[in-house]
Symmetry: C2
Subunit: 379 residues, 2 copies
Amino acid sequence: MSGGGLGRTETQRVVLFDEGDPLVLESGARLAPVEVAFETYGTLDEDRANAVFVCHALTGDAHAAGHHGDPARRGWWDRLIGPGRPIDTDRFFVVSPNLLGGCQGTTGPSSVNPATGRRHGLEFPMFSVRDLVTVHRRLLGFLGIERLHAAIGGSLGGMQALQWALDDPQAMRRCAAICASARLSAMNIAFSTVAREAILRDPGFQGGAYHDTGWGPNIGLAVARMMAHITYLSEESFARKFGRARRVEDAEPGLGPDFEVEHYLHHQGASFLARFDALTYLYLTRTMDYFTPFEEPGAADRLGGNPTSFLAVSFSSDWRFGAEHSEHLVGELQRGGCDARHVAVTSPWGHDSFLLDVPEYHEAVRAFLAGGEERRAAA
Amino acid sequence: MSGGGLGRTETQRVVLFDEGDPLVLESGARLAPVEVAFETYGTLDEDRANAVFVCHALTGDAHAAGHHGDPARRGWWDRLIGPGRPIDTDRFFVVSPNLLGGCQGTTGPSSVNPATGRRHGLEFPMFSVRDLVTVHRRLLGFLGIERLHAAIGGSLGGMQALQWALDDPQAMRRCAAICASARLSAMNIAFSTVAREAILRDPGFQGGAYHDTGWGPNIGLAVARMMAHITYLSEESFARKFGRARRVEDAEPGLGPDFEVEHYLHHQGASFLARFDALTYLYLTRTMDYFTPFEEPGAADRLGGNPTSFLAVSFSSDWRFGAEHSEHLVGELQRGGCDARHVAVTSPWGHDSFLLDVPEYHEAVRAFLAGGEERRAAA
């Protein structure tokens, strides 16, 4: 069904905003320079009409597909992107950047501010999903692409795709928001605030100036990650993966890790520290809390005539952004007269389903990106 | 429907085990002295047959009903216990102790070990739900009660009632386990392990010897409590209570608390520090993880002929110990030939429903404790 996947891929970097042409955020704040790390896969057609823009989720990066030298360690969406895969690199030119505010090559709060010679830290301005999209649009301009075939992303990635299509009706033919939300619930915000507090209250956080001190909010960030990781899975996936298995079946009961699920979460917390930054975690989670594109003044009016085709996919066991979030999102689009469809996929793997091999989901993405052409061919 | 409630109540203390007669734990470890804090409500009949034993949950205490001087601050189960209430103090003599390992008057890891003159700390032995019951049984002996009318508890409290009825078929006529579990799921354990890690990794924990240092794992305990508190509520209860309301509607976006749900959780974390001890939190959560009464060797055989009537109550929105936990518990009892019934109550308030005014639940408890008599009277 899918091809052999991409081979070696690499991350590029480009400065998209500089002192003479700073990034102007929705808040009015200005930021420069803004460098963006990105990867591309596949080939841009001569008419530059086959680009698919991939937006990553909270802890993703530009490395969505292929590998950087070790074929066993592949990009976070390698299951979806590649020759013959749902985001088919035989057909599409795929662009995948690290987000503004990120910590994997794109300018974020842990980047050095050239004006001061110090890392931005908590002086980094708050930014919105719209600001993430502003940077995406600049990257697209740099690549010489005027209109996308599609933008697609999961979770926070879906929010970016949605915001982009709402703000610029001509930006793309298709917009796919996978297990995304257009309005976090109180419980969503609750989990995020506890994660943030674990980081902010960690003495190692040092008011955000922890870099270069040999110390940092590692306890808080690991606890935040372990907790969040629970919310990405489901009762069923936990039961299937771990049940009540213990690492040492007849170990003495104690307070430290004993059950396999505990060892797994400890590993998740520890490995996260090696690849992620606490400030980025704070900023990006907060950006999600404030994302309410349909509640902006005039939002409903602006939907009329938007020619974009929208797809929302939800997963039955996702209790972070479950079906009700996609229903709300698609409902708002449909009420505004847009072409929008919600595919509710049955999957036991919770929110993380968007990263996994869930055939019904992969087929929905494949068919959506292929658009009407395949349907005509099949008729 | 319910009476005016109890007036002023008070906590008593009694030493139930001492050096000459130590508490022998299931592990073989010995512990002395063991002092127990408890309250009683109502009057013990002359035939001493009207006692109802109340077992508290993770963060409860002996003060289940009435008040200690401020009528606005009432015991944690005051809605259920009192004259005319489901656990009717006009009819029953109610006994409510603080658990072994607790921090509200009963000996626990933060108590001073007279052998060393220091607090037990992490040298406090691990204990089981069966050990909690061993102490309950001694308290009952002290009160001169041979057989209970009923034992009842919610969550960890229900586990104690269940263990007690399984270990001693003559101990009680009725056993009510409200939103309890006889086998925590991997996801249940996952939340508990993250809470414990937040405490254990907090530098203020100091290997458990934080008392009397002017410092403690306050960050970890507050984070643990905030996270656990989310799991006690439900999407719907969060939505109803808070929605997306902000404390200051046009505040500048920032990383600190802004939405009402954030302020609420912060308050929950802070107020918990004033009344609870981190070591007790570690030990009691761990005791729950290891509770699997039906998986002990010979457990199924021992069920035969147990004359106790069992009631399990679950709440539809409880995603901590939901209906599947009560179904499992009741299923095991029924397969063993016991009289056991599961009442699945519709309630939007999540796990915390067991503390709240949920009429169907209150009526189920009332009818169960009243037993056959009321049914005959109604016929």
